[in-house]
């Protein structure tokens, strides 16, 4: 009798048959199999850190929003002492949903079914007609609070995990944190949400979106080619269509053994357009002032030195992270969008792709600004983000067909045995003088970061409890 490592699906297929580590291929069956989805709820969504929102969504004590960790609804609330808590939104009594609305403010979350009441930190206050002791005496009140997730705040971003004994959030990010700091912890006051997130359903498996975020560069040229034909990257006359967009493919890509990914895109051409000078003739400070990070103004640039190292600032002025993912289901977009008048306006967005069964995901889109972004720029950034990304996004709407097609295709028996391929492999390594940590490769975008995403998914799925 052979001992197969890792899960074995009901039809006898070992999960290990679905991932070919040598050829860098993953079988399409992973995109629609119900059993794989169930295993993911335990081994991925039950184990890693998940992004739930931003603390500027719940600024005051008692503020709360309702979010999801995998298939579980959670209440993300700020208690009186200012701490953020994440509680399973399921009543310990009979399983009713405790908080039925998406957002609000309350010091007591009361279940409408039998009136059990909970504090924002999940503690059980009691049930009505206290002397009748509805909760009985077999379990103490301390056992009857809302199940708590472990919480970490990073740049105001609220992360949570059910894995209380697992790696810390910093360990989860690993070397990638050095790069994410340039996005989320770059200024003194930090980021804030422009409002609540957009939410809509795409009928695709969450991994079709998750793996693309981590970080598919190539598809920009073809799926998003309208950008180069009639959109913001339309070539000036005399140049070939699409050439401006092709330039966005060059930079350095960060891969991570934990599946995080960042596409650091070269700013030299944009800087040349704005200043008339070569990037090599300008200091780090001059470049950052000429083309500040998205959402920042030139006079905010001096804050970078207070929050980041000179090496991080060097990278921000040269090839800043602009798009990429955070494992398992997050995309970040910190974009420098060319305007018709030659200027650049930033757009900052984060999405999570929340699994809703193997066939569906909820696309949750938060738009960000800096707390100090001046009002006019703030308005421009929000409008631009709504027009390019998210629900009516002219860029992202084109993604919303590919994910369902892949998911539907994977239900065909022949197709389910076909594979997704990650065979565009870097041979370059880090650019000369690159000061940052991690697995770095320079040049035209390739598949390495996405392959690392799948390798970590595989590692988690194959792990023992």
């Amino acid at each position: 009798m052979s001992i197969t490592k890792g899960p074995v699906l009901r039809d006898g297929t070992p999960l290990s048959d679905l991932v070919d580590l040598e050829m860098r291929e993953v079988k399409l069956r992973t995109l629609s199999d119900q059993e794989i989805y169930e295993i993911e709820q335990e081994k991925v969504f039950g184990k890693v850190w998940l992004l739930l929102g931003h603390d500027t969504e719940i600024p005051n004590p008692g503020d709360f929003v309702q979010r999801h960790m995998g298939d579980d609804s959670v209440i993300v609330a700020r208690s009186r002492d200012g701490k953020v808590h994440v509680s399973l939104n399921v009543c310990p009594h009979r399983g009713m949903k405790v908080t039925t609305h998406e957002s609000g403010n309350t010091q007591v979350h009361t279940c409408i079914y039998h009136g059990w009441a909970f504090k924002p930190n999940g503690e059980f206050l009691g049930s009505p007609v206290a002397e009748q002791c509805m909760h009985g005496s077999l379990r103490g009140k301390d056992e009857l609070g809302l199940k708590q997730a472990r919480v970490a705040l990073y740049g105001g971003l609220i992360w949570a995990t059910w894995n209380h004994d697992g790696p810390s959030f910093e360990e989860f990010l690993g070397d990638s944190k050095w790069y994410y700091d340039m996005l989320y912890t770059r200024t003194n006051k930090g980021l804030e949400v422009a409002g609540p997130p957009q939410r809509f359903i795409v009928r695709g498996n969450w991994k079709t979106a998750g793996e693309q975020s981590a970080a598919d560069g190539f598809h920009t040229l073809t799926l998003h080619r309208w950008l180069g034909e009639v959109g913001n990257y339309k070539a000036d006359s005399g140049k070939t269509q699409g050439s401006e967009l092709t330039e966005e493919m060059y930079g350095a890509e960060v891969s991570s053994p934990h599946g995080h990914a960042l596409r650091c895109i070269n700013l030299a051409r944009k800087i040349k357009k704005l200043t008339g000078k070569d990037a090599s003739d300008l200091s780090v400070e001059e470049k950052l002032r000429a083309l500040p990070p998205p959402g920042m103004t030139p006079d905010m640039v001096e804050q970078l030195a207070e929050n980041l190292s000179p090496e991080q600032m060097q990278v921000m002025s040269w090839m800043p992270p602009q798009v990429g993912g955070m494992f398992p289901n997050v995309i970040f977009e910190f974009l420098y969008i060319p305007q018709s008048d030659g200027t650049v306006v930033g757009s900052l967005a984060l999405h999570t792709y929340v699994p809703k069964g193997p066939d569906k995901l909820e696309f949750t889109n938060w738009i960000f600004v800096e707390k100090d972004t001046p009002p006019r720029l703030r308005e421009q950034m929000i409008q631009q983000s709504v027009r390019l990304l998210g629900t009516s996004g002219m860029v992202e709407a084109d993604d919303s067909d590919t994910w369902p097609h892949m998911t539907l295709a994977s239900k065909g028996l022949q197709a389910s045995k076909q594979s997704m391929k990650y065979q565009a492999i870097y041979e370059t390594g880090a650019p000369e003088g690159w000061p940052g940590p991690g697995i770095i490769n320079e040049g035209f975008t390739k598949d390495d970061p996405q392959w690392h995403w799948w390798k970590y998914w595989y590692e988690l799925m194959m792990a023992d409890d």
Partner: protein, 183 residues
């Protein structure tokens, strides 16, 4: 006491159903729906005022006491002006707008049209209902997008131009994967 026949009295004088103006507004809406359902986007674009503001708020599930907070306008699903709508039309008319190529098959059912005078003699406000059905590829189901539209129309030679549209969709989590189509 609210007059049950005039619940929207706060909007201004009602333009009576069946009146000449009302009929012209209704015709405008039917023509608009026909143009959009038949992908005649440039012609629809010609019916838009250059000072157009076109928004689709986000909805949230809130308590009944807090119903106004269920309409989110800080971040919206659509936030457009004349120039950006024209940009959308240009994109959709090109060869690479994949989200609408092949195009959705849509049907716009406009109903419950009410028209009101405003303080400008050539401008009319309208509250109307839109039910949009959407189908793509081999789907054996339809995405339904029911909404209330709060419009401002300006009478011009030959008809009306859309000056303002706010579309209040009846979902917090949209069941359709994008709004690449016009409401």
């Amino acid at each position: 006491m609210t007059e049950t026949t005039k619940p929207e009295a706060h909007m201004g004088n009602s333009v009576g159903i069946g009146s000449e103006i009302y009929n012209k507004v209704l015709q405008h809406y039917y023509t608009e729906a026909l143009l959009l359902d038949n992908l005649r986007l440039q012609e629809w674009g010609a019916s838009l005022a250059t000072d157009l503001k076109y928004t689709v708020p986000v909805r949230q599930t809130r308590t009944v006491q807090d119903i106004e907070a269920s309409y989110i306008r800080s971040v919206q699903h659509m936030d457009d002006d004349y120039a950006s709508i024209m940009g959308r039309i240009m994109r959709l008319s090109g060869k690479s707008a994949w989200s609408e190529n092949p195009p959705s098959r849509t049907r716009r059912f406009v109903s419950n049209v009410q028209v009101f005078e405003t303080d400008k003699p050539d401008e009319y406000a309208s509250i109307n209902y839109l039910l949009l059905t959407r189908n793509r590829f081999d789907d054996d189901f339809f995405d339904l997008i029911p909404s209330q539209r709060n419009d401002l129309l300006r009478a011009v030679e030959g008809g009306f131009q859309l000056v303002r549209r706010e579309v209040l969709i009846d979902q917090a989590v949209l069941g359709t994967p994008n709004l690449s189509i016009f409401l």
